[in-house]
Symmetry: C2
Subunit: 230 residues, 2 copies
């Protein structure tokens, strides 16, 4: 269990989020990658509805989590952090140029071709659920998400992982797909359901998830606002 107060790597996370966001906050991706290669890390927690620590905006221009600090490396954006961690260990990213390039392509595909479509749906189903535009847009947004999910499903076919072996590309894709599991869409794609089950069965994922859940020790804000930060 690589959470350690004396670790050289520090990440940031939240000590409270609404129930639907628990297990979904983006520091999970970073914890998971670190667990895959057994690298210790410590966590600096903050409350999403309270003022950020002084100067945090210079650590994270969008004042979200996670950030990542390791010596003179200061990162934000879970994708950039995954790449940095991936460079450390062949178990996360092939060393040869062609395989490395493919793993990186899938990290970007997860974040830029798939996640925006799924996040639109999350916005509609969670944050804006009661709004008229959300009701009108839901069918179209679901169809758009299905197109993206179908593409990933077709690519996977009978394979276990996107490029034959587990990489940071799979880690990111699985983390992104998990986002819409509560809405039933993944169940429409048996290939994606198996893929997600396979990813979530990894001991590193389980340890990372438990660690994030354990850190939710904060109390709900007076008004349930700012949850979109999560």
């Amino acid at each position: 269990m690589p959470v350690s107060e004396t670790a050289a790597i520090e990440i940031t996370g939240y000590n409270w989020v609404p129930d639907f966001a628990k297990g979904q906050v983006r520091d999970l991706r970073v914890r998971w990658a670190l667990e895959e290669i057994g690298l210790p890390y410590r966590v600096r927690l903050m409350h999403p509805a309270e003022a950020r620590p002084e100067g945090y905006v210079r650590e994270h221009p969008f004042e979200q989590v996670p950030t990542y600090h390791e010596g003179d490396i200061h990162l934000f954006e879970s994708g950039a952090i995954l790449l940095h961690i991936g460079e450390k260990d062949e178990r996360l990213m092939p060393r040869e140029a062609a395989g490395r390039a493919r793993a990186i392509a899938w990290v970007f595909a997860a974040l830029n071709s798939v996640e925006p479509a799924l996040q639109s749906l999350a916005l509609i189903n969670s944050f804006c659920a009661g709004e008229e535009w959300a009701k009108l847009r839901r069918p179209g947004a679901e169809d758009f998400a299905r197109v993206k999910l179908g593409r990933v499903s077709d690519w996977l076919g009978t394979g276990d992982w996107l490029e034959g072996r587990f990489t940071i590309g799979d880690l990111m894709m699985a983390a992104v797909l998990r986002m819409v599991e509560p809405y039933g869409l993944i169940g429409e794609f048996p290939v994606l359901k198996s893929y997600l089950d396979r990813a979530e069965a990894r001991p590193a994922f389980q340890t990372a998830l438990a660690a994030q859940m354990r850190d939710f020790t904060g109390t709900p804000p007076a008004r349930a606002e700012l949850v979109r930060r999560a």
Copy 2:
């Protein structure tokens, strides 16, 4: 002018898109990066409303453009391609680890923290402009885009570039910000307007833009469909 039929690098692009997408298609980012370091490339063109070439789905799982081929390197996703090109030359990405990490963080920030908010707005203003949900959602989507733009503006402050010198992070951020220029939002942020002017004044950008525009030699489809592929 690095477009050359005998180049080792091949990218894909479109030979037609609707007027509002001209100069916005994502191969522009790749052309621009290659122009910055004077690396020759050739372009394989396709029509967005026609069937993709046989096997293209194995090149690009979402059947979009650009792809990038160079020897045994086969890439899709403009972010992954920019990183690959960035590795070739210090003018695009610092060699030292800390600066390199920052440039990469900004590529991801452009694609995952900024672009989804701007793309929602493009969806509302262009593709779904006549739909009721789009009318209802526009103010909220504009406000959300403003939050993201404000963060980038605040970060830049009086600086010329995101991390003191031009990197692939600026190239990607400028390419993303250009997307909402027609909607007037950039004009609300003088810092971003100057930043974009500075980026677009680079000779490499101008050459890349001219090359993309020159390649629009195709004819409009019978029905103006599938434009969201662009």
